[in-house]
């Protein structure tokens, strides 16, 4: 009976070691690191297998677009403060969405073809998933 118990413990240990070994060898560490970054950009490099030159170009594009994004944000806030109708604010937001989509396509164009397509598949649906009702709650919950 004691040997049966030891055998079960041995087999359980073998299974646990196997599980952990395969778990850690299949984890993508760059994603886990990226989750802790306030504005994750570096993950793109590993995720899409970019060269230094490609990543440098994308980083430059990213920095430039951040200024454009801030301008859009200011326009939306100003429109709200001025009490502009919702339809007009929606037009500004629509311009923001178009600008963002163009930016993502420009980033994808700097990547190898397959990686660019995968990048667009990943980010474009996120633009459409914006919801005015949940945005402040989500940002508040994430501490941003």
């Amino acid at each position: 009976m004691k040997n049966l118990g030891l055998t079960i413990a041995f087999i359980f240990t073998v299974g646990a070691v196997s599980f952990l070994a395969f778990y850690y060898s299949n984890r993508e560490d760059h994603l886990e690191r990226a989750r802790t970054e306030p504005v994750p950009v570096a993950w793109i490099r590993e995720e899409f297998g970019l060269t230094d030159a490609q990543f440098a170009s994308i980083s430059l594009l990213h920095e430039t677009y951040l200024r454009t994004c801030a301008e859009h944000c200011d326009r939306i806030l100003a429109a709200r403060a001025a009490g502009m109708p919702a339809a007009e604010i929606a037009v500004i937001e629509s311009e923001c969405v178009d600008s963002m989509t163009r930016h993502f396509r420009a980033v994808a164009a700097l990547m190898p073809a397959n990686a660019g397509a995968r990048y667009l598949d990943l980010v474009l649906p996120k633009i459409a998933s914006f919801d005015h009702r949940t945005a402040p709650d989500i940002l508040g919950a994430s501490g941003q």
Partner: protein, 102 residues
């Protein structure tokens, strides 16, 4: 009842003449040792050596299950991380999110 067995002397004589004639088992000694080896007294290694096929098959099965489970769980978690990172990346560049948070 047999009257011969009524006296203790007759009974003693009867038992004195009684012989058990059981055929010898040539594997008896080996069987005893096998049972001793597989018993708790000889330790787990001996038990393992006495049952290598079944323990090996069970170990192989859990290695396969562990591999499948570990790989599947890692992929599932990576996919969730990828989704969260992509969302954070898009939100950082989305003026609507920036305006909503102010």
């Amino acid at each position: 009842m047999n009257p011969d067995h009524e006296s203790p002397e007759a009974l003693r004589r009867e038992f004195g003449q009684w012989r058990v004639s059981h055929p010898r088992d040539p594997g008896f000694r080996d069987e005893v040792w096998r049972r001793i080896r597989s018993g708790s007294g000889e330790g787990w290694l001996a038990y393992f050596q006495a049952n290598p096929a079944s323990i090996g098959a069970a170990a192989l099965l859990v290695v396969l299950l562990g591999a499948l489970g570990g790989t599947g769980f890692a992929r599932m978690q990576s996919q969730a991380d990828r989704d969260a990172v992509a969302s954070a990346y898009v939100q950082a560049l989305d003026a609507r999110w920036m305006a909503a948070s102010q």
